[in-house]
Symmetry: C2
Subunit: 432 residues, 2 copies
């Protein structure tokens, strides 16, 4: 029996209780959310530890960091260092999106090393293995694809990204409607390339019941990926994106009927004024399933700073109800991130997530800010640093700057304006 099936019977599993304790909410809230599909708990029953993370309504907004082997320069040790950097920076999940090299090896090492749930995108490995076997990914067999999906699930992967809704009908819609940038989802593009080459419907759609069977067996959460994710503001909320989302709504229902936890992946590139509509639409079409958005970036022009553009979109999306933010790094649209960009990407997404939680009034969210603000008033630097989103970075900057500032305020001598003011206001601040 899966976690969802148990929840529907009113059972509270140890995972639900652990999530509730991590979030500071009642276990019943988590149980009810899992039952109605508004919460998923990321945890494969084969994962060799008690790692869990809850994603969904009433819980803190979470962030995910992606790593993976790509190209001949990529190495397993470097990707493992990125995993560690992401975890140190406070990510709530890791996605291993390897497309080449020792894909099995990295995945298993990530699963062993990560203290958080791990997600993968099995299509990449299936295509890579087909290239190895047939000298072209286009000849990948459907059974081989499902074999890789099962391999990932059996290894203990907690959530699987699958482009189940990218059907021929939807590819035709993109062709008819004339997008500015037709396809930017890497997995989606490769899947459609395979479909067109083989003149076959999307096997992740036609074989959705096989996916549900595998997912049910290992209690894996399905992340319904959006092959039609828009790649620029001009394509946001267009026919192809929305038609795919309609279909993903159908698949959410089928997954739940099979007792499989499901969330929906979202854009991408969305202008600020369309973010709320995007989230409201997903919530309606996908019956309240958790929304896992990729950023979104709110302008197309921020290459080199897309973690900042994405934090704007992530914050407003989280406020509107998206519960899971896939990080975007500074080098998005340019190349793969280095370790420092991984770290900054996670922190930028965490700031967005927390800003969204504050805005939607999530119980407990404002207390963190209140506590650091009180420490700031008291000039309690140790506490401010400890409470900062990235204490290591705050401490580094404080120490780097302390030489120039150690003399205190440059304005006053014996008379201290701050002292005069704080005495009047009855505030404990004694100097500046």
């Amino acid at each position: 029996m899966t976690r969802l099936t148990r929840a529907l019977k009113g059972e509270l599993t140890p995972g639900m209780v652990r999530v509730a304790s991590m979030e500071g909410v009642a276990p019943e809230l988590v149980g009810k959310g899992v039952a109605d599909g508004s919460i998923v708990i990321l945890r494969n029953s084969n994962r060799k530890s008690d790692i869990v993370e809850g994603i969904g309504k009433g819980l803190r907004t979470k962030v995910s960091a992606s790593v993976g082997l790509y190209g001949s320069q990529a190495s397993v040790p470097t990707e493992l260092m990125k995993v560690q950097a992401a975890l140190d920076a406070g990510t709530n999940a890791i996605m291993d999106l390897s497309v080449s090299g020792d894909i099995n090896g990295l995945r298993r090492q990530v699963l062993a090393a990560a203290s958080k749930p791990v997600g993968t995108l099995p299509l990449y490995q299936a295509l890579a293995e087909a290239k190895e076997k047939y000298n072209t990914p286009a000849k990948m067999k459907v059974d081989e694809l499902f074999g890789v999906i099962e391999r990932h699930a059996a290894d203990g992967v907690d959530f699987l990204a699958l482009h189940c809704g990218t059907t021929m009908e939807i590819v035709k819609r993109a062709k008819k409607d004339g997008r500015v940038d037709p396809l930017v989802s890497y997995g989606g593009s490769h899947l459609i390339g395979w479909m067109l080459y083989n003149q076959m419907e999307n096997p992740l759609y036609t074989g959705f019941d096989r996916i549900l069977e595998i997912a049910g067996k290992y209690d894996v959460t399905i992340s319904l990926a959006d092959g039609m994710r828009p790649g620029c503001l001009a394509d946001s909320l267009d026919g192809a994106q929305v038609q795919e989302l309609v279909l993903l709504g159908e698949l959410v229902r089928r997954a739940r009927e099979a007792g499989v936890q499901v969330m929906v992946k979202g854009p991408g590139h969305v202008p600020l004024h369309q973010l709320k509509a995007t989230v409201v639409l997903q919530k309606s079409l996908c019956k309240g399933a958790p929304y896992f958005v990729f950023g979104p970036v709110v302008t197309d022009i921020a290459a080199g700073y897309d973690h900042i553009s994405a934090s704007i979109g992530g914050a407003v999306s989280a406020w509107a109800g998206a519960e899971f933010l896939c990080y975007v790094t500074a080098s998005e649209h340019i190349g793969l991130p280095d370790i420092n960009q991984v770290r900054e990407g996670v922190v930028a997404a965490r700031i967005a997530a927390h800003a969204g939680d504050l805005a939607k009034g999530l119980p407990g969210a404002a207390e963190w800010d209140l506590e650091i603000s009180r420490a700031r008033k008291l000039l309690d630097w140790e506490k401010q640093i400890r409470l900062a989103v990235d204490p290591e970075r705050a401490r580094y900057l404080r120490e780097e700057r302390s030489d120039g500032n150690s003399e205190g305020c440059a304005m006053c001598g014996k008379y201290c304006a701050m002292k005069v003011v704080s005495e009047y206001l009855g505030s404990p601040r004694q100097n500046c």
Copy 2:
């Protein structure tokens, strides 16, 4: 006659025409905006060049970068390097907020070097000179303060930040209402310290007509600074902030009656869900005067990354109608920024400004994104880099990463999924 007086007579000045040309709008739109106070043109009639920048309704959202001498470690050459870094990163204005050292010297060099309008906060220098003369800033004479204001205006400073609304009544409100962090405005705190020490009302309020006389003489724009700027989310939109804003509304009316251009400075720390209300309130109380917001940051916990937190708040504020964003650097709440943080702070604020312009549908804003998206589809790297918000940074990252990526896509061999897809879609993309 000031620019505002001329605009009210229906005159189009060369500055208005230049602003219209920079913005790609009709000169009449600028003239009408200056006349009704919804647009200010930053340009002192004594400034020795034809530098102008328009701030306000119907124009692109602008950003300002602050530098200044603070403490014995500060140096004029370093601050001038920060000015250059901010200009290179695309700032629309510089504020020199020096509080010590060779304040006159830096200001004059900034005015000579900057290709954009320059603002200052004269109170700092008046207090610093009083400390020099009387051994304490508390003994600053009112006439000395006005002397410094006139000196800055005569030097050609384009806009002056003045805490004219921070009256004793409002300080009492802060005391009564019990803020978490009573005062975080550095200028406001020093002003209130002086007021309490001398038991005198705010001379910038009682002497507002003198300020208007000086501003009128040099056509300086007044930036009505908010001494009660909240310093944490918990204090946002509280009694002290709002009562001061009510009074600033009165001063906006008086400035306009005197033919003086005026804008209003804003917070600070504002949770996402209060940003729109904050801007709507300012627009109502201050009769559509341009709103110059400081960030705002949307959480108190992002020390070390406050440029990111501020870009979230800046974007949503700009969308709501704020027209001028004061940058916040990564080291805000910790120390003074270094040159790299100045650069990143400007770019983060520019991303926020542009995201806001896109969201409010500013004519022409979406074209930039469309152009870079088309270049992205065509894999035209030169054009993508040229159109990026910070081309130098985009080029650096592209070159740094190109080794690892130059082999092209790691997935396909002779068969290219992207080629298959783009042939089907009739898209010009040929490889990935």
